[in-house]
């Protein structure tokens, strides 16, 4: 079964004169272990696609299935619960809580959700992300790259089935950007996640299994690489 599946998903903003079809009717599906890139110019509908996939907004029409559940039919409260359980967001800007240190960022998730990664796994994650020495630091003391890595740790800690990343490397220099992509790649394959990365940085697509191009709201599969 597809982890994430979209059927004829369409999003229109405004009406009449100001009507914008941000997403033309789109079919999409992704499987476990896939790292997918969505690229496209500014204003093409990348974020719209990603936020609909993540249940942050509902499409004008069409259905979004997450592990078989149609989330477009759910109320915000239920979608919020699904986001917590199934989705890890990595955002362009930092999504860390400024008054919590790295360890506490994870503990906050313990407060709202049971069954997160066991502590050995978490330590391992810290190691992999290279933030194990920063556990007592607050976001304001971290560099952009470190923040992004903590954000990734946070997204993975709840052990979601889907990781959605919007320009995760935007605030990083090339080396760091490649590192982050490597990490996402490793985690996706190792722990069987579905990861969708939205970016306009075409250098990152080498890490991905599938690349979709989005232009004026139309999503099209561009390349599919042999699974490594």
């Amino acid at each position: 079964m597809a982890v994430l599946e979209m059927k004829q998903v369409r999003k229109i903003f405004g009406s009449g004169h100001t009507e914008v079809e941000a997403l033309k009717p789109t079919d999409f599906s992704s499987q476990q272990g896939e790292l997918i890139a969505v690229i496209g110019p500014s204003g093409s509908g990348k974020s719209t696609f990603l936020t609909i996939a993540g249940g942050l907004q509902t499409p004008t029409s069409g259905q979004v299935f997450m592990n078989g559940t149609d989330i477009t039919k759910l109320k915000e409260k239920q979608r919020s619960a699904i986001r917590l359980k199934e989705i890890g967001f990595v955002l362009q800007s930092s999504n860390l809580v400024p008054f919590l240190n790295v360890k506490q960022q994870m503990r906050l998730l313990d407060k709202v959700k049971k069954h997160n990664l066991p502590s050995e796994k978490l330590q391992e994650l810290y190691q992999t992300l290279g933030i194990h020495k920063l556990l007592n630091s607050f976001p304001s003391d971290l560099s952009g790259g470190e923040k992004q890595r903590v954000a990734i740790a946070k997204a993975l800690y709840t052990d979601p089935s889907i990781i959605l990343a919007d320009e995760p490397t935007a605030s990083l220099d090339s080396d760091r950007a490649f590192e982050v992509m490597e990490m996402l790649q490793e985690i996706t394959t190792k722990s069987n996640k579905t990861t969708i990365v939205v970016t306009h940085d075409t250098r990152l697509i080498d890490y991905c299994d599938k690349v979709y191009q989005i232009t004026d709201g139309r999503l099209a599969l561009q390349t599919e690489q042999a699974q490594s």
Binding site: S47, T48, T51, G54, L56, Q57, K77, S80, A81, I82, R83, L84, K85, I87, F89, L91, Q92, S93, N95, V97, P98, F99, L100, Q104, R107, L108, L109, K111, V112, K113, F138, K154, D166
Partner: protein
């Protein structure tokens, strides 16, 4: 609690300020409540001492003791468990350099208005009085001879009792005849049946049967009609209630500003799937902690102040009142927080994460 606590720990200055404001508001509330209490006591302590349920006065007196004039024969105790006669007159007593307003209570020594003697002995002869102990603080002593304004009669303090103030004046207890002499001078004999009221103890005031032109008022009504009593009480209570509103509004504003500043953080947490309920609870918990801290500190400051205030400031704390006011303060503060909750619920996570 986790979020609330860590946020406060990391923004000490900001939250200390909020606690400071609440501290001052609750300090003011507690002091005012103490003052209201103290003033009440000053007015009615002697009445509380009666432990009576009602007072019989003339109808035309309009529940005003000095204006009520009746005769010892007007009531025979029908429907009451116990009753006592009272003649009251206000005056100014002077002894040497000491001078004080006083309320003279003319009573029968064998009736229940007769107070416990804490020092000296009870009055036995005419012109002997048992005085409220507060007169001691003003320099009066046992054996002092008191000169009263507007009469030739001289009174002698033979004993003291405590907590006997009536309309802010210390009470002098004496027999009826002495009061008559003070009031009517030579004509005292003619008016010897004259008193101002009967005080009654009974389980049920409605059983008390009085003659035409007399009325039975319950003690609470009697106290509320003491001159200035209700006005004072109302003014102070109004201030206290207003402070409740102020603390709610101040806290609402503070929290609202803090919430607005945190919209994007809340939005990010909501995007992640953390429920509005959790965030709202966190704000409530935070408000509760801040308010409780402010109120407790305000209480401590009040106690310290009470300790250092000079005795003439009529302040008396009723701890039950303080507890109640403290709870109300915390409660209205939390109400103020509800205003921000609505903002949190409305935050669209989509906007917070940017597109």
């Amino acid at each position: 609690m986790f979020l609330a606590w860590n946020e406060m720990k990391n923004n000490k200055l900001r939250f200390t300020l909020i606690v400071g404001v609440l501290l001052l508001v609750s300090y003011l509330v507690f002091l005012l409540s103490g003052l209201a209490n103290g003033l009440e006591d000053m007015n009615k302590a002697a009445v509380d001492k009666w432990e009576a349920q009602g007072v019989i006065l003339t109808e035309e007196s309009d529940v005003n003791l000095p204006q009520s004039s009746l005769s010892l024969e007007d009531y025979d105790g029908e429907g009451a468990d116990e009753f006592a006669s009272l003649a009251q007159i206000s005056s100014i007593a002077t002894s040497g350099d000491n001078k004080s307003n006083v309320a003279l209570f003319g009573i029968h020594a064998d009736e229940f208005i007769m107070p416990d003697i804490t020092e000296g002995e009870t009055f036995q002869n005419d012109n002997e009085v048992v005085a409220d102990a507060s007169l001691k603080e003003e320099g009066f002593e046992l054996g002092d001879e008191l000169q009263l304004a507007s009469t030739e009669e001289k009174l002698t303090i033979v004993g003291f009792t405590d907590n006997a103030k009536f309309i802010a004046a210390p009470v002098l207890y004496t027999d009826l005849q002495t009061v008559h002499k003070v009031r009517y001078g030579e004509a005292a004999e003619m008016y010897k049946e004259q008193i101002n009221a009967f005080v009654i103890r009974t389980d049920d005031l409605s059983n008390v049967d009085v003659k035409e032109a007399l009325e039975v008022v319950d003690t609470t009504t009697f106290i509320e009609n003491l001159p200035g009593y209700s006005e004072q009480k109302l003014t102070l209570n109004f201030m206290i209630y207003f402070l409740f509103v102020i603390s709610a509004v101040v806290l609402a504003i503070f929290l609202y500003v803090l919430t607005i500043q945190k919209i994007s953080i809340f939005g990010v947490m909501k995007a992640q799937g953390i429920s509005s309920k959790y965030l709202a609870n966190s704000v409530i918990a935070q408000t509760f902690l801040l308010a409780a801290a402010g109120v407790v500190l305000g209480f401590l400051l009040t106690m310290v102040t009470g300790f250092f205030l000079p005795d003439i400031v009529p302040i008396a704390f009723n701890y039950l009142d303080l507890l109640l006011y403290g709870i109300v303060l915390v409660f209205v503060s939390v109400l103020g927080a509800l205003f921000s909750i609505q903002t949190i619920v409305k935050i669209d996570p989509l906007k917070a994460i940017g597109g």
